[in-house]
Symmetry: C2
Subunit: 454 residues, 2 copies
Amino acid sequence: MESTTRLLLPEVEQALQSAPASLLDLTRELHAADLADLAQALKPDLCLRLLTILPASTCADLLEYCDEEVCARLFVPLADESMTAATAVIAVMAPDDRADLLAILDESLRGQLLAALNEEESRDIRHLLAYADDSAGSLMTTDFVALSADASAVEAIDAIRQIAQEMETIYQAYAVDPNSTLLGVISLRDLVTAPENSTLASVMNPNIITVADDDDQEEVVRLISKYDLLALPVVDKNHRIVGIITVDDAIDIAEEEATEDVQKLGAVDPLESSYLSTPVVELIKARLPWLIVLFLAVLATPFVLERYTAIHPEIAILLGWFVPLIVSSGGNSGTQSASLIIRALALGKITPGDTKQVLAREAIVGLTLGVSLACVGALALVARDATRMTGLVLTIVCSLVAVVTLGALLGSGIPLVLQRLGIDPAVSSTPFIASIVDVAGLIIYFEIATVFMT
Amino acid sequence: MESTTRLLLPEVEQALQSAPASLLDLTRELHAADLADLAQALKPDLCLRLLTILPASTCADLLEYCDEEVCARLFVPLADESMTAATAVIAVMAPDDRADLLAILDESLRGQLLAALNEEESRDIRHLLAYADDSAGSLMTTDFVALSADASAVEAIDAIRQIAQEMETIYQAYAVDPNSTLLGVISLRDLVTAPENSTLASVMNPNIITVADDDDQEEVVRLISKYDLLALPVVDKNHRIVGIITVDDAIDIAEEEATEDVQKLGAVDPLESSYLSTPVVELIKARLPWLIVLFLAVLATPFVLERYTAIHPEIAILLGWFVPLIVSSGGNSGTQSASLIIRALALGKITPGDTKQVLAREAIVGLTLGVSLACVGALALVARDATRMTGLVLTIVCSLVAVVTLGALLGSGIPLVLQRLGIDPAVSSTPFIASIVDVAGLIIYFEIATVFMT
């Protein structure tokens, strides 16, 4: 819970129970983002009471600052209470946010709301809803400034002034031909400094960075971040501008993508909403399948151990003592490599074209780490006075070098192969790589023991 | 390597060797971000040649799109070649980017450059350099629009038009009193739609979101992301505005912070630059200390195993077969919880105040996962026809329930405790938590075996 919310909550709860109207002054002063936090912290009945006393535009602002799931959780009781109030809120929400909300409402409620809106707005929403999840089209807003390339700078500023309050941003405008084909981008900065009679065609930048409406949201973040854009125009197959995505949405997507990557790396299916708003049942569903897969992946280890202990019963117990030490070292090295490579792939800093270079680097790094760790291991054995068992010392030292190097190679190689196959490399979660290295490391350890100890 | 770079590289390399001046047309059309990629892909001597033919302003743009370390690597040879060219570039760089560059140059070069700049600029840089790394002050730019609150809307627009080209952004202006005390924020959108004679005091928003100059960069990202800001004003202890941080910098910081978290979770010290630009020696330095710490953390396992095998020699080998299966299941459960909780803490979705609720949820989740996994384990044993060994089956089933639950509790509890102690919870990397769960899981396993098998 945020500190502002924690401070205001008792006062707001009391006001909602006794004199709700007295809250209007406070809600006018609060930023919509803080109001959204406050609404989420309230009990459902008080939250509904808050939403009903707020003007529709404030209520829309508040909902726009919530995650989709939270937004739906707040909105549905409002629609149950008063369809008129709910429709008024939907009518003033930003096109992208209301499409996101409608997308997760149940079909009958969505139908009722679409029927209550005017035809143009309802068509606009249906159009946005048709785009695939996580595509640029599903993220864009259709409230953007499009101007004729023939207009003069002063005409353009006048036109922008007229529509400023409805637009998502007015700081980037787009010059188009009569078919909406995108010709250039003009910043308000360039417009206000341009000579009054210059045409947009002479002021605009014709080298436009665009994204296709069916491109993935990761590409949206990459472009906005790389080119420091305030807004990214979305175009269809005929290079007509169909919407824009603003930088504030890019930050939200970047955080969402990073969260998903961290969760996948930790062998958890990405959660739909934040940890505390996710029901326990959903947490279990996101974790259990992976835990079982990982369990099955190391299910080979008892067989491997049984086989080798049958071959070398006289040294089986002694060798067994060092199994966790050897396999965890390989797994840790694999985890390190995987987290470096998977993040670099996600940010586009490495592409599958760099595979050879990456593997060469990891071979050197892995070997160096393995030799260093083997020295630590040897010291530990000396300290335990186990040096008279030369075979054991040699086995452990050589195994550490081998499994740490193997970990580095598999930890970097598996994500690269997955990326090449078009699979998100983050699904090769670090525990999964550690499990593969565990099984392989165990076999290496006993094979080396066979050489030195029998 | 980016696809644009890959396409252009051969042509650019050849042009630089034969007729460098022919490149100027190409470089005028390319976005500075692409030019920066290209420069980084060139061999050092060709890159230097490219920088020397570019106009100082293009060169400055190019450097502003590079990470600090890369920026310094490109800039130093230019300064060695021509101090005049280097000073010209520094003079036109954005204040925040040039301060970042100067901060990592060696002292004598920094001194020469500061001496070559005019007094005001050199004072400005020294001021920025005095801020702690990763503080809001070290990130801000001092090129922002400050206006007197008494000015009228039309005067303000005129003033902005005059200075538009030098400012980092003109879309947010700040109303100040004669002491630079921040009174309100005015967006250019509000300015262009305001009646011409209204004063800034009547148009501005006095509820300003600000950050203190010594606040951490994570707070900067949190505020810009939460409130969807284009620019965040930085204030000193007397609430005087000393700079602004723009949203494009916030995206870069958010990605940098997420990358650092992923690396820490993978038990790697955060790298200074991207994976491929990090020398192998640095990679080893970032990984070896952690690998040794993790090795020492599981160094207890041979002792634990030795002790229990001494107590129960008759069943030691049999029990040993299942050690990797049991400990890795606990480790995986711990990794899952840790990655969920550490990311939620980083985004401020969970605070230490939520500890009880988190632990209660994790206890339920861990127990459910443990029981489910135990069922899978029991099935696997039945399939192996090991059911006649009732003691072994009971030991494995109970151990799985216990270690998976323990993993969930430690994986969530350790990050929460670290956060409460003011330590970054990401340093409790997932392999570290897995190692602790390994050792504890081993003891639990043998204790349970003692009950059921002897």
